[in-house]
């Protein structure tokens, strides 16, 4: 009885808080990547120079290039290509990039949380796509 209740509770917890995945979640990450890329390429310095100095823990342009590549990959694999090996590789490398970014900006908690959330979405995407690839092989 207690075991069953615990199991139900765990299933509810997982269903409620599991990271989202799918085409729409991927689009959110794509849009976020575009914004981060634009910011990292200098928009932040132009629009909010004060904040830019404070949060610029790591060199911006390198992240700009990495996010440009990730954005293009996400854009390319946004629909038909999503459930292919290319979509899977994009998710895995995107996850790694966001993890590195989250690690780099960890003193600034909100920014760190945004990057970690994007990383989680791409992690879930990787897992779901891999499962799809295995099932339809």
């Amino acid at each position: 009885m207690v075991k069953e209740q615990l199991r139900t509770w765990l299933v509810w917890l997982l269903d409620t808080f599991k990271p989202p995945s799918g085409v729409q979640a991927r689009r959110v990450v794509m849009a976020f990547t575009l914004l981060v890329m634009v910011g990292r390429f200098g928009l932040l310095k132009l629009t909010s120079p004060g904040s830019a100095v404070r949060i610029n823990v790591v060199p911006s342009w390198q992240y700009g290039v990495a996010y440009l590549a990730l954005f293009l990959a996400l854009y390319w694999s946004r629909s038909e290509k999503r459930l292919t090996l290319a979509g899977f590789v994009t998710s895995v490398f995107g996850f790694a990039l966001y993890v590195v970014q989250a690690f780099d900006v960890w003193p600034v908690f909100p920014s760190d949380a945004y990057y970690a959330l994007m990383a989680l979405i791409l992690l879930a995407e990787g897992a779901v796509i891999w499962r799809g690839l295995r099932v339809h092989r």
């Binding site: 790591v58 060199p59 390198q62 992240y63 990495a66 899977f88 998710s91 895995v92 490398f93 996850f95 790694a96 990039l97 993890v99 590195v100 690690f103 780099d104 990383a119 791409l122 992690l123 990787g126 897992a127 779901v128 796509i129 891999w130 499962r131 295995r134 099932v135």
Partner: protein, 110 residues
């Protein structure tokens, strides 16, 4: 970004993502089987329902054709009866007129 720490973290993150993907796949293998079986059964049911509906539709079309024919026959009957009614009305009018004429002749003095 390109520090040794970051590169190491990047590689670890890629490994973690691959591990999570494999783990997730293994944990859900049974669920996929169940889901596919369930979906196949559902598709079969839907196909059966469509066949039933097609048969019903065909029967109903036949019934509609029969009803159309009956309606045509009924219309013919109605037309015939209307003609009959008109004929007998005219006949009744004629007889009434003749009766009136005969009555008038009797009343007239010689």
């Amino acid at each position: 970004m390109f520090t040794a720490d970051n590169i190491a973290l990047f590689i670890i993150a890629v490994a973690v993502a691959l591990a999570v993907a494999v783990l997730y796949d293994r944990l859900h293998a049974r669920t996929i089987d169940y889901r596919e079986t369930h979906l196949e059964a559902e598709v079969k049911d839907l196909r059966r329902t469509i066949d039933d509906q097609e048969k019903r539709l065909s029967n109903q079309q036949n019934e509609i054709a029969v009803l159309h024919r009956l309606l045509g026959e009924a219309q013919l009957q109605i037309n015939y009866l209307q003609t009959e009614v008109t004929f007998y009305k005219r006949r009744a009018d004629e007889l009434e007129a003749r009766l009136l004429a005969a009555g008038n002749q009797k009343k007239q003095p010689e």
